[in-house]
Symmetry: C2
Subunit: 125 residues, 2 copies
């Protein structure tokens, strides 16, 4: 069962955050093919949002071929290794590029950036 323990509400529409969360968990290998998604109703209760908002996220995931839904049954993760690699590369491209651009605009040098990473990389690898 796909867990939302690591989900932290951030900026932007909730349905997009859900999609991003799933992609990141897939990228890190925590979510695997054939894993069960929580039902729309259960997840909406867990996150404290409306079922329609969750449905919107699941619809997007299905359109991208990341989950498969059968009316009446739970939705499942369907994922080839190729798709997983593509998702990971896309996320790295977006997020890393974004982080670098932001740090540079703040006026951080490359060395200072390395120090910041060190400083905030507290926990395990």
């Amino acid at each position: 069962m796909v867990s939302f323990e690591r989900f932290v509400p951030g900026d932007g529409p909730i349905y997009q955050q859900i999609v991003l969360y799933i992609k990141r968990e897939i990228s890190s290998g925590i979510i695997h093919p054939d894993d069960e998604m929580p039902s729309r109703r259960v997840l909406s209760a867990l996150l404290g949002v409306n079922p329609n908002t969750v449905q919107k996220a699941y619809k997007l995931l299905e359109d991208e071929g990341i989950i498969r839904s059968h009316s009446g049954a739970k939705s499942l993760i369907v994922l080839s290794e190729k798709m997983r690699e593509k998702i990971r590369n896309d996320l790295l491209e977006n997020d890393a590029k974004n982080a670098v651009a932001t740090l540079k605009q703040i006026g951080v040098s490359k060395n200072e950036a390395f120090e910041l990473i060190e400083r905030f990389w507290k926990e395990e690898d």
Copy 2:
């Protein structure tokens, strides 16, 4: 005159993006005390948004003591070195912590994070 050349539209409300942009340019020392802000109307035309949206951003900046407005005259940046340092530290805390958390969730190791920074830090220091 404060320039918006480096402004790139991103996520979230536009008025918040404007506030963040100004703070980052202040942090990097590109914007100085007594610099003139573009007028609400000029900036709204430049960004292609409504004057009210810009006004909302300027109001927030004024509430934070970052700019000062006099009816009829251009708004000016007012900033002590202490405020600048605080703004910089706040931005670093938020953005660097954020970037690290995101990279970790994607399943990036610390070493891989360093490689990514190297790779995307193309331009000058």
